[in-house]
């Protein structure tokens, strides 16, 4: 029996065209899906290199007062230092901060220094750059378990504090980061209360290792690293080294600090680097040095025990973590 085709033969697509169309469709699906998959991967993968566009800062040589690095410790590249940042006001993605902070306005700038001081004063950028700058290459240990070696440029915080003459009642120093939601729209997602605040005990703040950094690698700070001026406390976890400082206040009690407000069980006021006191969610005994694949033992006070351990004699560092 002969079956009748329901479609007139004139309307049947010729075999050649049919296969061409199929070939075209398949190719389009291949190309589309590949682009979509690769594109998605690219969106979430790290960004390309960053360049050092800062202005040069003159530094004076000083007798080395910190432990020199071990023979196998290398200074991290500028790309590592300026391309991998925790600066939640701009992004919680460390490889994205550089791009998000690109247009951050850091000039004009002023740092208000006050509280329990004899001579409260506001420093503008030029005032800060008048301090005699030194280069200090410090280890930098993040509470997240990674570390770097960074050649900072700056001056001891003690120099600035001495100028404003702290009153004898002053026991602590509070710091505050610049905050402007218009310049930092992604800060909505930070998940922490802003402006970012930090604090030190006065003797910690006066310690010769404690730096106000205005640059790194011989040039002014990139925005993502806390331009134009930030704190560097090398024996404490990185989040203590508050960025883009606008306010320094001398107080007679322990100031509140952002991360211990956000999660008091995980982050304390002192936050000294300490391999024997674990973060509740991860060990602090080891660290991954950026630029290396293996892990290193974390050193007590980040390797600065000789200089700073005396500040904490008699304290229980697992209680005052």
């Amino acid at each position: 029996m002969k079956e009748r085709s329901p479609i007139p033969s004139s309307e049947v697509t010729p075999e050649e065209t049919f296969f061409n169309r199929r070939f075209f469709m398949k190719s389009a699906i291949w190309a589309g899906s590949t682009l979509a998959t690769a594109g998605l991967y690219r969106t979430f993968s790290p960004r390309p290199e960053v360049r050092n566009t800062g202005a040069a800062i003159a530094t004076v040589a000083e007798p080395s007062l910190e432990t020199t690095l071990a023979a196998d410790e290398k200074v991290n590249s500028f790309t590592d230092i300026a391309g991998y940042n925790n600066y939640y006001e701009f992004s919680t993605d460390k490889s994205e901060v550089a791009a998000k902070a690109k247009d951050f306005v850091t000039d004009p700038w002023s740092v208000q220094v006050g509280g329990l001081v004899q001579k409260p004063r506001t420093f503008d950028l030029a005032d800060l750059l008048k301090f005699e700058s030194v280069e200090r290459t410090y280890r930098f240990r993040c509470v997240e378990g990674w570390s770097m070696v960074i050649p900072w440029v700056g001056f001891p915080l003690s120099k600035l504090l001495t100028m404003v003459e702290p009153l004898s009642a002053a026991t602590h120093v509070a710091f505050e980061t610049y905050y402007d939601i218009k310049q930092m729209p992604d800060s909505r997602h930070a998940g922490i209360d802003l402006p970012y605040v930090e604090g030190l005990r006065l003797d910690e703040a006066m310690h010769p290792l404690t730096l106000l950094a205005t640059g790194l690698y011989g040039k002014t700070l990139p925005n993502q690293n806390g331009a134009p001026v930030r704190l560097v406390v090398p024996w404490k976890y990185g989040f203590k080294s508050i960025k883009s400082v606008v306010k320094i206040t001398l107080m007679d009690r322990e100031p509140p600090t952002t991360w211990s407000l956000a999660n008091p069980g995980e982050y304390g006021f002192y936050s000294n680097v300490n391999p024997t006191v674990d973060h509740p969610r991860w060990s602090q005994a080891h660290e991954r040095r950026i630029g290396e694949m293996g892990s290193r033992r974390t050193l007590m006070f980040n390797g600065y025990a000789e200089q700073v351990a005396h500040l904490y004699t008699g304290m229980d560092l697992s209680a005052d973590f």
Binding site: K26, S45, Y84, S283, H286, M293
Partner: protein, 205 residues
């Protein structure tokens, strides 16, 4: 042959796109383009990819029921195997770089840190599913029993999302996204089973 019946084409497409992220990670690693902390990136990427493939596996049923894309069913086990593949890569990254192959320290880590325990448990649940993903195993177990076993996927996905949520410091947008998608996918199943139960139940007199 229509698109819907071109199983060979679907298979090629899914195999290729599933493997592509792994290939791109390897290429970026080889070019030194994984950023300042390659270990952290690979750990996070493989973890997120595990969740992505778990979610894709769970998407198959709703897409079939709603759009009639029944051809997807034949690719579901492949999607599940990719979840296992990226989960294994995630685990190996952890063992190699977080634990430095000191396997005796893993036990302590699991005990001390609930999020590691949840992750490890979810991965272990994937093992029997990966093992029973062959046609022979389906025959051996019988369809209904096989399907019942593979419902473990729900718990694995819940464990995966909890594991992700627990490691984030403060910005929970990504884990939240996965949690919402997973809630929708599981919610859909709950609603369908309630509807089915009502439809099948004899009418109350």
């Amino acid at each position: 042959m229509t698109f819907n019946s071109d199983t060979r084409f679907h298979r090629q497409l899914f195999v290729f796109n599933g493997l592509l992220p792994a290939v791109l990670i390897l290429i970026d690693y080889w070019r030194g383009k994984l950023g300042a902390n390659p270990v952290e990136f690979v750990t996070r990427a493989t973890g997120v990819l595990t969740l992505v493939f778990l979610i894709l596996t769970l998407l198959v049923t709703p897409l079939r029921k709603i759009y009639g894309w029944n051809w997807l069913l034949k690719q579901r086990r492949l999607l599940g195997l990719y979840a296992f593949f990226y989960g294994l890569a995630h685990l190996l990254t952890y063992l190699a770089y977080d634990r430095d192959w000191q396997l005796q320290t893993v036990v302590g880590d699991v005990r001390q840190r609930p999020f590691i325990a949840i992750g490890m448990f979810s991965f272990l649940l994937m093992v029997p599913l990966a093992v029973t993903s062959t046609n022979a195993m389906i025959k051996k177990l019988g369809g209904p029993r096989w399907a019942q076993l593979h419902r473990l996927t729900y718990y694995i996905a819940i464990g995966g999302v909890l594991h992700y949520w627990a490691i984030v410091k403060s910005d929970v947008r990504y884990p939240f996204f996965f949690a919402v998608v997973l809630a929708l996918l599981l919610g859909y199943r709950v609603v369908m089973s309630i509807k089915k139960a009502r439809g099948a139940a004899p009418r109350a007199s």
